[in-house]
Symmetry: C2
Subunit: 431 residues, 2 copies
């Protein structure tokens, strides 16, 4: 603790950074009373000092030189909200090396470099906290680290990206095509101009990597998370899903499986009466299965400046409380062993296939022969929307559990049948 209170440095003054400043300044009295010491914002790293901002800071508080924040002697806790892998990773390392505690909202950095950074922090006897990196203001990191500490966690099923959940909700409710739903999301500010990170599942994959590492006490390589986005989905998939009693969601799934783990992000059919199926719009929800606490669900808005500020300030306050009572504050790292990640080709689940086929006798026989030969057994099949003119029909098939690699090779073969015009889509089914 510096002389007159606890010094805060801030890296980044974008949407989230400005939110943090508003809370730090607007709630200064209450927070000081709670802690017994004030939180003092010392220095903020920005790209352009002269830019007009929604928060009022003295010109001496802003700097474009990272070193002025990272090495400032009056800074105890450094908040990183720049986002992206570089230079954020380097800044965090430097801050730690200068003996600063670090609070970050950066999922990419924590997913890719978390173990290294946490170890570095322990070495330098400082804390590194990252509650805002997953689910924003929903208490997840602390729940895994503290509240579920005695549990063995067997599975996580989660909606971790509000942008894609918003798009899927619009597609499902209004029958919108993907492109129209995305455009609306962009106009409403729910999706970025370059939405790839969200819609391709990368954002959710980073978050899943962080949660899986905590849940399974292992070091996860975020590259090991299988990742598939939502752009292949079509309005008719939602209609057929509903007919079978399912909703379509982009789920992030991490499971223990005989000593290995599965980690994957992709669209799934989930029963429409399940908890996660009912999560609509920009909300996130994280379902955890554990041996003691049972089935838990955490639900809330996983994005936005205020939501992130809630989590960032919780981390700042935890560190500040430790500083105030003179306690050692270092990251909890609990690594039991590196678990093997099951390759996607060997996961086993049920599947939905949508095929465009010739509308004539014997077609189903040919398709089922291919599936059967690949050890895929059909649980139900319906033929939809015959088009008399083009003599095509849509065949919707639900399978019993089958192995991903058998499914992929069967679909390839099915696609080559002359009676099959197109393999329209395939979607995995959970539960």
């Amino acid at each position: 603790m510096t002389q007159k209170g606890i010094g805060i440095g801030l890296l980044g003054l974008g949407v989230i950074g400005s939110g943090v400043v508003k809370v730090l300044l607007g709630k200064a009295d209450g927070l000081a009373k709670q802690l017994g010491a004030p939180l003092l914002l010392r220095k903020v790293l920005v790209q352009d000092v002269s830019k007009h901002r929604t928060v009022t800071l003295g010109p001496h508080q802003l700097t474009t030189h990272a070193e002025e924040v990272l090495a400032a002697p009056d800074v105890d806790i450094m908040i990183e909200v720049i986002g992206g892998e570089y230079p954020a990773t380097e800044y965090i390392k430097q801050a730690i090396s200068h003996g600063k505690h670090v609070v970050t909202a950066n999922k990419e950095v924590m997913a890719k470099h978390g173990f290294e950074l946490l170890s570095l922090a322990r070495e330098h006897k400082v804390d590194l906290r990252y509650e805002a990196s997953v689910g924003s203001g929903i208490p997840l990191i602390s729940s895994f680290q503290q509240d579920l500490a005695a549990n063995e966690i067997s599975a996580i099923h989660a909606i971790l990206n509000g942008t894609t959940n918003y798009i899927l909700t619009r597609m499902s409710r209004e029958g919108l095509p993907f492109s129209a739903a995305l455009k609306d999301a962009q106009e409403l500010g729910y999706a970025e101009a370059s939405p790839a990170n969200d819609i391709e599942g990368t954002d959710a994959a980073y978050k899943l990597a962080i949660l899986a590492g905590l849940a399974f006490h292992t070091v996860v390589d975020s590259q090991d998370v299988y990742c598939e986005g939502i752009s292949r989905l079509q309005p008719q998939d939602f209609r057929y899903a509903r007919e079978f009693g399912y909703a379509i969601k982009l789920l992030a799934i991490a499971k223990r499986d005989n000593g290995d783990i599965e980690m994957r992000v992709h669209p799934v059919f989930i029963p429409e009466d399940s908890q996660l199926a009912k999560v609509d719009g920009v909300y996130n929800a994280i379902q955890v299965e554990s041996d003691l606490a049972g089935n838990l669900v955490f639900y809330g808005q996983g994005a936005g400046a205020l939501r992130a500020s809630s989590a960032i300030m919780a981390d700042v306050l935890t560190i500040a409380r430790n500083i105030c009572r003179g306690a050692v504050s270092v990251p909890m790292i609990q690594i039991n062993h590196k678990l093997a990640v099951k390759p996607m080709s060997s996961i086993k689940t049920r599947y939905y296939f949508r095929l465009s086929v010739a509308d004539r006798p014997g077609v189903l026989a040919q398709i089922s022969e291919v599936l059967g030969r690949n050890s895929i057994s059909i649980s139900s099949v319906i033929q939809k929307e015959s088009d008399l003119e083009s003599q095509t029909a849509v065949l919707v098939i639900m399978t019993h559990p089958a192995e991903e690699k058998s499914v992929q090779s069967a679909l390839k073969e099915v696609g080559q049948l002359t009676v099959v015009h197109e393999v329209g889509n395939f979607i995995r089914v959970e539960r």
Copy 2:
């Protein structure tokens, strides 16, 4: 920390106590590895040493003399799972006075004596944690204390009692009368032989008092929680609720209201598409509205030995980690001011009335005249189920927001009208 590890004392070896012992023994190696020190169960207070038990403990580990556990020099952390107000309160005080950290699952003790006990613990420089007292394994206490520490919480709406939620679910789904649903719940072990604490809302009121104190940083007198149970509900109330688009739930509600707070437990109509309406069976769900984190929902099973063990062990591990790193471990108490509790008579909400009336012209006119004179405005009214033989009909009325005391006096007056056979029920509406 005692010489060879962290000593644990246990008060009570019933269902929850046995669950805790199973976890302590069954997970001993993993927990020791996590902590860097073993958790050693030293002494257990029981009523009868010779009773057959599902857990195997040495005869020297069991005692019927509280003092042998409370004052044991080799006990660092005392777990209290006796339940009930006395002697648990006294035992906790004694343990604290002997310098033991305490972990309790006791909602009644914490609701009635929480502030006194937490203050005593701070005085003796020991910790007192109570995560299991509300929502069992759902992380609530720690979320309020830590994760939401920077938030101003404006409202809590919660299903805090699994027994009543199970009964309401059966009544709603199957049209069962209360007594039959209760009997089934008892046969399945979801309700006790003496179910008063659950069905009269007392259990939920204790839990709400604990949460409201944490959320609003105030000292709550649990007597100030208005409390009404579910035994007045009839199958037809569920049918009418559904017709208006509502579900019926026993909600625990705590709200800020112009500097005062509202705290009440009673059956409510809530919109059937709301998060809480979808919580079925023995599950609990706690919805929190806050300025930064927004709208959060925590969902899980709020009862059972394993669920409670999850929360109890989380508390034990938090204290143990502090002991291991030599940090001061005392309760967080943050009391800003004692807030006034709004009397029930002055709360304002919408209402549902079900009246049994004479089936003849002019009846509605008489009833609306009484309501109007009491400043209660009708939002919709339907007449149901005319019985030609007895010439009675059921009148279902939904009102606009009105003050509780006006409603109570109006209902009294309505009940005295000769055309009204019976005021069948009235239920408050949330949102």
